[in-house]
Amino acid sequence: MSAAARMFVYKRLASPLHGARAGVGALWCVALALSALASDSPIVLSLVLGAIVVAAALAGVGRELARSLRVAAIVAVPIVAVNVLVSREGLTVFARLGDLGPFGQGDLTVEAIVYGATIALKVTILMLATTLASLAVDPDELLRAARRLSFRSALTASLATRMLPVLAGDARRLADAQRTRPPGSVTRGGNGRHLCRYAGTCVEGPPLSPPSHLSRAYVHAHARTTLVSAVVASSLDRALDVAATLELRGFAHGRRAPRQRRAWSRHDLAFATSAAALAALTLAAHLADIAPFRIYPEVHAGAPGGALALGSALVLIALLPFADRRGIEP
């Protein structure tokens, strides 16, 4: 399975979060994400971000989360850049671009940068919390619960979650097969042009000539496109096969999944308590304005002590359930 696909695939590991029931695990991830969304303080946000990273490491999925962090960083940069360019709020101007016609005055402000960074930080936390949930919360158990509530949605989600690894597997096999084509092998494209193997892939080029004049980026982009189109072409057949299996397994009956009664484990209780405490503390801090942070029109932060205390409390509450590692073997 590719690294990208592994980023979102659940695997039962020996960790307290994996040991908790799916509903509780998902609730805990949501509570953690909400605690970040409810605050603008960079101190609180950074501490929550740190808590998610540490939680992922303690759950044994730190490596996968690091990949997600890289993707989030790629998303965060344009968020900051776009906000600086489009925001017309803020008083501390650090650069003037002059009159931009219909867009008005191009004044870039420090407040716009801070606001963009805050949003980027929140988006990053949201992405990481989602990744952590997809890696550590059993999707089958969640789908089971969803089948009790909305059958059609659960069916669609079942198909979608299954198709992702199936198509990723198809793409990997097709890519491997293309890599085994001999160097310089010639095939002809639909438009009559020849295709030469290069860098383990098939690209268009003159017959039997090494495509040295082609840029590596073009070669890889073309190869990827060819591969993706082949995978997409086969995806309908794949989806039909999966749907046929679901049909024969009786999914079309639309019967509600039976309620499973099972005793609450120590990890169920710990994470449920943690989620409730996170939610309560977030609500209380919001109402009491414990870590005030205003951005527009000028950046104004309250005393850092409040933010530090709130952030530390959130981290402590979030990570405490990981301290108990009894009964976590898969």
């Binding site: 659940y10 597997g169 001999p182 092998s185 095939t187 049909e247 999914f251 009956h253």
Partner: protein, 554 residues
Amino acid sequence: MSALAFEHVTYHYPGADRPALRDVTLAIEHGELCVLAGLSGHGKSTLLRAACGLAPHFHGGSFAGRVTLEGLDTREHPPARLGELTGVLFQDPETQLVMGSVRAELALPLESRGHGAGEVARGVEEVALALGIDRLLDRSTHELSGGEQQRVALAAALAGRPRVVLLDEPTSQLDPVAGDELIGLLRRLNQEWDTTIVLCEHRLERCLSAADRVIAMHGGSVAHDGEPADFLRWAAREAPALMTPGAKLFSLAGLAAAPVGVKQARATLRREGLLPAATEPAQGPGRADSYPSSNGTGGEKPRSRRRTGSRVIGGGDGVPVEVRGLWFEIPRGPAILRGLDLRVQPGQTIALMGRNGAGKSTLLRLLAGLLEPTRGRMQTSGRVALLLQNPGDYFLRERVGQELSVKALERAGLAELAERNPRDISGGERQRLALAIVSGEGEPPAVLALDEPTRGMDREGKAELAAELRRRAGEGQSVIVATHDPEFAASCAERALLLADGRIVADGDTSELLSGGWYFATETARILGGAGGALLPEQGAGLLQAPVLVEARP
């Protein structure tokens, strides 16, 4: 009321010119274990799809006649309802796993049918124990090997204790041990639970002795329907390609009654006084350990996982492949190959055998450069062409003519297919096209490696492929073929390697290696107890007819 009945059923897939089923009439009674035989593309899989209602409900097309499953007319009841009475397993297990974990996969059919939580939990445990997959219950379905996927898909099909089980080549991805275990399990289901089983299989020698009845399909019609012994007599006259190796052995040796299994064959030979005198019961798997292993560093641990292996292309002494102390370890995972040594001579054909997960595919991928060894030395003196398991993975274009030049197509005997879509041609033709693609259009590869090339292939296709591999070896190419099929290995390879847990545990002449095992042995070898190293029916018949090697008739 029959368990399954077809009455004058004719079925066309949408847009097809010819019917996939043509006026099929048959009845399968409760508790029968019925084998569907026939060459590829003659309607076996379609018959199973019609039996469970997927044809026509799911696939569309035109359907005439009547199919009843446990008294339910498939035209009036949807597949979901029919699925309550049947367990169905198709060829590709990957698309038959729809949930994330094995436990959830096994629970799904029970939950969908409204069973309570207790029944679901019990059903999951029982079917997992019955199929020996209880240790997989908490594994993710994405991580399973092909063989494991097959067993989990079968378990999901059986979880609801169906009255009728329909299986389309269930052993195609399994090694001989797992294949025999599966057939044994089906026989137990049939005998103890009275489950009706309809099994479609190319390797008839595996399942014929367990069958009550064989239905042979030809051109979408039922060509023969009778007991296994009758079927073998019919096949000898009408369809030699469907004969089992044992039946062929008896036919070539001039013996009248074709044996349904090894036990019957040996009993007949013993009665006739033809069982080779020196025959001992076939040696168990332990026999393999007595062969000289080419693995000189078998149990040694690598000093450091960070150390990487080396690859040298263009070795000096003309040996196509030489491998020394080859390790392949998955980061944060197990070692797949453990200090492997291998030397391949020019023009040599090697069969690579072993259980699922033994490391066969990994070795071929390393040789072809798809993977890098983590330790050890690998030297190749020319190109290693690798044909992966699914030939369809090589086709990215809409026409065969776009995949290869006209000259190469002519050389592969596929020139007349240039305008066809590669996905629409037959399995054998696809295999030939993929083989031509990996072989390339210039200088032929020094080594041709094939990973499970006979999966889902009928006996005719296998014979053609074996002939092609022998031809290539005759031209000086070395051929390494990973296979679970001892008959195919015997027909094309002169040397066999048995891998287990990433090590070569036996290395020798094919006749030596495949004549002495329980599982990794051909049917001829098992019938003759390994006498004379005879593996194929032709060799066995020669042995039986040679008076110096056999006991005199009483």
